[in-house]
Symmetry: C2
Subunit: 299 residues, 2 copies
Amino acid sequence: MSLVIVGSVAFDTIRTPWGDREKIVGGSGTYCSLAASFFTRPRVVGVVGRDFPRKTLAELRSHGVDLAGLKIKAGKTFHWEGKYEDDPNRRTTLRTELNVFADFRPEIPAAYRASRIVYLANLNPEHHAYVLGQFRQPGIVAMDTIRLWIETKRETLLEELGRVQIFFANDEEARLITGETNLISAGKALIGLGPSLVLLKKGEHGALVFGRDFVFGVPAHPCEHVIDPTGAGDSFAGGFLGYLDRTRGLSVRDVRRAAVYGSVMASFAIEDFGIGRLLALDWDLIEARFRQFRKLTAF
Amino acid sequence: MSLVIVGSVAFDTIRTPWGDREKIVGGSGTYCSLAASFFTRPRVVGVVGRDFPRKTLAELRSHGVDLAGLKIKAGKTFHWEGKYEDDPNRRTTLRTELNVFADFRPEIPAAYRASRIVYLANLNPEHHAYVLGQFRQPGIVAMDTIRLWIETKRETLLEELGRVQIFFANDEEARLITGETNLISAGKALIGLGPSLVLLKKGEHGALVFGRDFVFGVPAHPCEHVIDPTGAGDSFAGGFLGYLDRTRGLSVRDVRRAAVYGSVMASFAIEDFGIGRLLALDWDLIEARFRQFRKLTAF
């Protein structure tokens, strides 16, 4: 079992119509590793400043997250500020202070280099080759991206899509990359660009999984009060990849169940600001929600 | 087995980016009864003008649709013209010529009055009482509505919601009626207004079913080429109510399966302009697609 997550460990300031939070812990690497920690012992590669709370690092470690790849550098931690309106699927970035993340060149610890799964969480695609070059042929490379890279590094992004096995995208990103309005066409077009699995996340409408010869759909957990959608996608990736790492398989059945566990972790993440809800979880709660997904979808 | 559908039998002119069709057969009663005809012998109450093609009436009859309640009046048939852009979930009405439908007062034939299920397909809610008064206590009353009635007959519509058991709405209508952005909240709020079942149709995102103590979700059939979304909602209602009429039940299991059959019929309806695809169906094709929904959603 070995899953390496290369991503941001950061501060988020979140503004919503029902409340604000200043500089709470966030970041793709944080959400993803915490979600994955219920399935495997994820390894994080990232960087924080000296201002990052030791308490959070201790909490992550106590959840089984391996932080050997997390550098603590002089300076301030990456800080993102965003605002949600009534529709939690839409958000506006108000501020991005990269700080120590600005010249982050991910160094993979020797102990991580034989890992089975590598997840590149919305990294600048120009850095993928440098990161992957440090691994001894990982079995599965997974990546996510963000609008910024689609708009500014399109060519490199498309090249990188040709090298990964798993690609996570939300509906907007899938449409932007492929130019397809129809999400089924967009998902299939992404498969045509290289990955053997595409996870298309649709927020309140659930997720679609595209493989070379199957499509799987799962509705979202029926949540009435989305408190903070930040990190939902990263928590989905954490649950999905964590489950795949734990099962050691990659059959269609594994992938379907992994997508439901991804949906389970995302459904918890949005129930509170930041990583609060994920920190408070235990395996019984996760299994109970997995069973709720069965009830939601069985016919 | 007895399902009465009170709705429009009409002409549609459809404009899409990939082709137009002038004055083809459409209407809520047509789509709904044709979809239901694969499950039961639906009874249609409506009105057409002398210009309505006899060929279509013969086709409907040969599918087992009972047209004893369809009046043929001097004058022209209801004619709607609409336009779709790239996103098939959005449409613009270009023209509505009510013609003989303008003073349609639905008269229920004596033979229909003991029917088990009555479906009021986007009728003016002010006419519901008149229609329902002609029945001997139907077991199930179902209704749909349109934006026009939500905006112009809101009070009456809310009263009528308090009298029906089943309500069909798309996401836009559910939000307009309840004022809730979150679709789970909207679905629950609609249940709070009276119906014991709410069918919330989300186009490419599938459907949600709300009961008093359960939520069921089903993704849409993965369709890459939506040719004509007109009638998808009415075909959903036809499959749903037709299946419920056939099973004679209303258990949660019946309702879940009915919603999948509704999704099956809607998924066929959008594959061609007008009722062409529905007319060409047979039971094997319907069962094969039902099994595809199992494959789509099983984990």
